[in-house]
Subunit: 135 residues, 2 copies
DNA sequence: ATATTTTTGCAACATTGTTGCATTTTATGG
DNA sequence: CCATAAAATGCAACAATGTTGCAAAAATAT
């Protein structure tokens, strides 16, 4: 059973191409990287494809401090099929390496955070530093 | 001694107006809110003013999941004058209230996070839920 | 194979942000 | 206070990123 069937997304040549770019990159990628990789395809279609993937929970969006925006495959994310990407729960920390500039999803137990008087539904953590490969 | 002198930023009518918008809003605001508040001023100047404020450490930028981008005054941030906004250290958590949609800087001790093999220089935490006022 | 639904591509547009340059404003120093 | 230097402003033009409506094409279902 392929990823398309599992997530109820139609399998098209274009979408397979986009998905391949994700598989070919270990860490998260930018929309620009996808555009370069798939060649002279229509930008609109790509944006819609990404939205479809996001809605299906196939990928997730990472917004790092400094307006670094990336996309990454969801491997271990807890999500239902209709959950909006913005409220998507991750069991990992998004790590931005200052050296190789990669944004990496590091599997890690999220710390328990309690804010007096606040009801916390989800938490996102972004870290910056030097990644394991660059150290 | 005013905030301009302290941060070595020139005091102009325009900048005072922009700063007032920050003071008039308890929590973080969007560039759009500032544009509306200050009236028909030049957008370019506003962008440059914001950049100046960011560089001076007067305000900081908050990027929340779902492309919510906000600006907030820095009250308790640890930063030097030349430190870039992206690497700005906060002692608070950015909290997005799902009800009032405000993005609030909640003063809180940041949890100690240790990632095996990674060198962590800074951490940003975003939480989502219901804020104290809305509960 | 045909009908239905979804995806794609095009054109046009909207938003957000940037750069260069001339002008104005603010601060500085006699 | 006036001249000068430095910085901020406003304009025009541009660039990047993302969206909408609609017709054509492709994929799925009958």
């Amino acid at each position: 059973m392929g990823i398309f069937e599992k997530k109820d997304i139609r399998k098209t040549a274009f979408r397979q191409k986009v998905l391949d770019v994700f598989y070919q990159n270990e860490n998260s990628i930018t929309i620009g990287q996808i555009e370069t990789a798939i060649g002279k395809h229509d930008r609109i279609t790509l944006y819609r494809t990404i939205k479809t993937f996001l809605d299906a929970g196939l990928i997730h969006e990472i917004v790092m401090p400094g307006d670094v925006k990336k996309l990454a495959l969801c491997n271990d994310c807890e999500h239902g099929p209709n959950e909006h990407a913005a409220h998507h729960q991750h069991n990992h920390i998004h790590f931005h390496c200052a050296q190789c500039q990669e944004v990496i999803c590091v599997d890690n137990e999220l710390p328990n955070i309690d804010l007096e008087g606040y009801q916390i539904d989800s938490i996102e953590i972004q870290a910056r530093g030097v990644c394991a490969s660059c150290l």
